[in-house]
């Protein structure tokens, strides 16, 4: 008994038992590499608060001498000169992003569970179609998608921004890969208890899928947040933020500065969602309760 306890203790203090030097070395390595990774983003932020005359100083500075919010002001000025109030674009974007993210998570989770854990006529075929859909990239698809949407009367309809993004093969593939790791015994046990597939999916499997689900939320949010209205919607009151922000960035006086301000502005919501979701991922202590 005593030996088991010490082993347990050792195992649970896995991190603590490690040489601290190793962890420090990892930290230093990641820190240096990470500095290179964030440098361009840091420069973007710096450029966005530089006044026009500082953009062309030689040698270029890694900081702003006199930081200013002029670029952001110019961007918002360009945005609010439209006939439609700025808040309308914000509302459109939030509405599109929230509905795409929610529907994608619900639909892909259910489909992924069935495809990962049930065998039925067609399941193999659908599984391989998903991967093929991921690999098949063609310019022509957009045209065909446009034709399909025109047939459905979706052009210049706000739903045109939401419906095509609801079923993402990438999201489904991600969830399916993750759910396939759930031990079959767990699902069998729930079946013996008389639970239907729907309940097994949402009450047994999904509570253990927090890491994958949070990752899916990040992907879905990021993709939906950047949906441009393109040729699908013409009416100004249906346009989304990225569309008008890109327009503003392209028309600004000091183009570089305003473009940077626009990039920074658009980057904030995905980063906030990322931080919230990642914290959830890390707080999960994976424990399925059943050992294979």
């Amino acid at each position: 008994m005593a030996t088991v306890d010490t082993v347990r203790l050792k195992a649970s203090n896995r991190q603590a038992g490690r040489k601290i030097g190793g962890t420090a070395a990892i930290f230093i390595f990641l820190f240096i590499l990470g500095a290179f990774m964030v440098l361009p983003i840091y420069l973007t932020v710096i450029m966005s608060i530089k006044p026009v005359e500082e953009l062309f100083v030689f040698p270029p500075k890694l900081y702003a001498i006199r930081p200013t919010l002029d670029n952001f002001r110019d961007m918002f000025r360009a945005l609010s000169s439209n006939r439609v109030p700025f808040s309308r674009y914000v509302f459109n974007s939030v509405w599109v992003t929230v509905s795409v993210t929610a529907l994608q998570c619900i639909f892909s989770s259910m489909a992924a569970f069935v495809l990962a854990k049930c065998r039925f006529p067609g399941s193999k075929l659908i599984n391989s179609i998903i991967v093929i859909a991921l690999l098949y990239q063609s310019n022509v698809i957009y045209i065909m998608q446009y034709i399909v949407m025109a047939r459905l009367g979706l052009i210049d309809n706000p739903l045109a921004l939401i419906l095509p993004s609801v079923a993402s093969p990438m999201g489904l593939f991600l969830m399916r890969q993750s759910i396939s790791q759930v031990p079959d015994a767990m699902i069998e046990a729930a079946k013996v208890d008389g639970a239907g597939l729907f309940r097994i999916c949402w009450q047994v499997v999904m509570p253990n899928q927090k890491p994958a689900l949070m990752t899916l939320i990040i992907f879905a949010f990021q993709a939906a947040w950047n949906i441009q209205t393109g040729t699908l919607v013409f009416r100004e009151q249906y346009k989304t933020l990225p569309t008008v922000v890109t327009q503003a960035a392209a028309s600004g006086l000091a183009r570089a500065g305003v473009a940077m301000a626009a990039a920074v502005f658009m980057l904030v919501p995905p980063i906030v969602i990322f931080m919230l979701a990642q914290r959830q991922v890390i707080e999960t202590m994976a424990h399925s309760g059943i050992k294979e």
């Binding site: 310019n139 079923a167 093969p169």
Partner: protein, 310 residues
Amino acid sequence: MAQKASAAEDRKKKSGELWKEIKKNRACYAMLAPFMLFFIVFTVIPVLMSLPMGFTDFNMVQRPKFVGLSNYATLFLSDKIFLRSIRVTLVFALLTGPVSYVLCFLLAWLINELPAKLKTVFTLVFYAPSLANVYTVWQLIFSGDMNGYLNSFLINLGIINSPVQWLTDGRYVLGATIVVQLWISLGAGFLALRAGFQNIDRSMYEAGAIEGIRTRWQELIYIVIPSMGPQLMFAAVMQIVGSFTAGTVAQNLVGFPSTDYKAHTIMTHAYDYGWVRYEMGYSAAICMVLFVVMYLLNRLISRVLSKYMD
């Protein structure tokens, strides 16, 4: 006669069984239905409609005209720039794909060894480039005058005397593109692997410790990698797609077309014919070639991975 009748009966019996199977699994189909409805309408149908386009002459104004294999013949026999783009794509994909794949896994693992708070921060640091997608700043870094960050940095160090045209000099175009591609490539695959690490059951480590696993390396090889098969596969598919269909990075960074077609990938070539010259049939044929390459590679990788996992 009798044989024929029995064969027909057999078929009937089989289809009856199939129907029974389908009925038995109707809950599965019901749960699949919402996803499949949108997937079929907005992905499968457009894909099926686009498949025959490679055999047509299609300018987006008139109806597509069937031309048989002539698009493919032109591609492989007389389109010199296409043959060049194959080489660029292969060099590009072979340099960025595997490096980025290993990097995704390595970084996801190293981050996993850190305390919880640092995990979030470092995951964000490495994923942030895929969130940001900022090309403008890279243009400023690689800018050809003295104001470019890289040029001014190297001039200050005395490594170069005069500014280098990173984005237009044929010698550096592909290199610059590869750097930026690697920078943004720690994307979906990396995050999925991070989630995979988080998914590994604690009891696995405990069991490992009891069996005498001591170092990080042993843990990685005996516990972590064998239980990450699905995520490794996901990351591989993402990596294939990312490295082979890369084109936007080059177009945004070094212009289009790039100097001497040095960064002209297959996808860029398809974009050129599709959206610049409106020869959609030809463009579709180009995309089809690329798809076949990626599909075969995917089959190969999934075979290797599944052999390794079992």
